[in-house]
Point group: C2
Chain length 128, copies 2
Amino acid sequence: MTISNTPPSARGILLFAHGSRDARWREPVEAVARSVIAQDPTARVACAYLELVEPDLPTAAGALIAHGARSIRVVPLFLGMGKHVREDLPLLIEQLRTAHPAVDFSLAPAVGEAPEVIALLARMALKN
Amino acid sequence: MTISNTPPSARGILLFAHGSRDARWREPVEAVARSVIAQDPTARVACAYLELVEPDLPTAAGALIAHGARSIRVVPLFLGMGKHVREDLPLLIEQLRTAHPAVDFSLAPAVGEAPEVIALLARMALKN
């Protein structure tokens, strides 16, 4: 049996959202980050944005790595499945892998693809 | 006791999303609409988009009204709380109320404001 020397906190979670000129746009993204910490106080989580809001993905990934992350799961907080998620994001992940070959990057499905998210949004639409 | 002549189906649900040039962008929106019907087969539901995808909000609302909807709940499928949700959408709702004074329009909170959505997205971010 091998016991890993890697602590659980060596895994980082990067919440990736679109961004907006509007300063309040990112409030729900930051709320998700707080909820991640509330559900798992050992989690290392950061937010990153495609455009118009800092930090971008390389900056946020670099910060997680500087704090010891050796694997990073990128979670696209996108409801719509457009070019940003299907084309831009995989390219960004490849650039991260090239820049940090020792770090294990994984790309989660966009949240809008998850059946449990779809079902919850439908339940909310049916509320009175 | 008053018994309403209005059938339950006189209530329409309008799922309102941003829109994108990308044809596949609306797939999750349409999946939410299908889930609404699956959860309540009597529901009348339509999708509408702020830009780049047809139909727009007035067109979709008009179709629901033409099919008998006498009240319409507009549900913003937006995660981020930007200008579109805080400023554009209330103006669009006012225009709908002016155009259809006999119809009762209500505006649900954006889904990104809902604690249960935030918590679910955090649980998904923590998945392996």
